[in-house]
Symmetry: C2
């Protein structure tokens, strides 16, 4: 029997390796050659999966997003909406989520001049907000709020998370986990009190 | 009399041109050649002011920071601390401040892998927070708070501003000025109420 290679899995694996390189060294470092070296593969193999640098970058961006969503999903039991667990899982208090944020930062500068990446950034913010709203709908303490109060609350919380993640990335000593969590807990406490 | 060239002014002017290019097209576009073209100068002249791409980028980063500080200073009369005016002046509701934020985003990805830029990012966050704290000390409504409540309030407001600026850059339609201002006004209102 010939060995069956799962091409989709191999592609994801290479994108994950590229994401590691981006998180450590920035966007410019993630070349086909570098990814091939890190994967122990030839540049020909990597080029087979990604036609050019741009295709590699798009896959890298989505690899970081997918990993963040897996992490967030894994941090609370399915079927039990827990707004706090959901929201805290997005903070860069764990190395894997810190890595995902660093990959996104690397793309922000790039997204300024690239309409596709800018659209991906917009979609990701909307998706994150929708996930928080959905968790609120299933969480008794938030379910009593009006839909617009939940929408506004999710917007406020996501805005804080982005601001925390940016500052924590460059000044981790000034942003220990307890400080990140406290800011979010304060926000959730006051959102719960709204009508 | 020979013409006297103000070298420092010329250097700032070139860095400002580079900042425009970064805000429009990202970090990679700001080459010595591109800046020379945009300035109507030779690459030799630009190279005279900036030894290499890195020196140009450092000057570009500081040009954006300096412009943001001038904008913030100009938005409230000297000697009269007005926390709200100070804080709102940092939002990307004006084209010039939007440009400054876009330049910073471009550097965030770069700063991941560059210790000097990472240190500059840390210093800038600390400076912005100190400016907000100082405005609070001179504003009667905030002066009655404890120093730690002011410090915590400034941290919260700056975190919101960073989160707003990032989202507004990629989704300006979803972040009109009134929405940005409302989030900050809500935060200031609750900080004022603290003990």
């Amino acid at each position: 029997m010939p060995a069956i290679i799962d091409h989709e899995a191999r592609r994801r694996e290479l994108a994950d390796i590229a994401a590691d390189i981006v998180a450590e060294e920035g966007l410019d470092a993630a070349t086909v050659r570098r990814v091939a070296e890190a994967a122990g593969a030839s540049t020909k193999v990597v080029s087979h999966y990604f036609a050019d640098k741009r295709a590699l970058l798009i896959a890298t961006y989505h690899a970081a997003a997918a990993q963040a969503h897996r992490l967030a999903d894994a941090s609370h039991p399915p079927g039990r909406a827990d707004v706090r667990a959901q929201v805290l899982s997005l903070l860069p208090t764990r190395p894997a989520m810190e890595r995902a944020w660093k990959v996104w930062f690397a793309f922000w500068g790039h997204a300024i001049a690239d309409a596709d990446f800018a659209a991906a950034q917009r979609a990701q913010a909307k998706r994150a907000r929708a996930i928080i709203v959905e968790a609120m709908e299933g969480d008794a303490r938030f379910a009593r709020l009006t839909p617009s109060a939940r929408e506004q609350g999710a917007r406020e919380v996501l805005t804080l998370i982005i601001g925390i993640a940016q500052q924590a990335a460059f000044d981790p000593e000034d942003w220990p986990a307890r400080r990140q969590i406290r800011l979010i807990d304060d926000a959730l406490a006051r959102i719960v009190m709204r009508k």
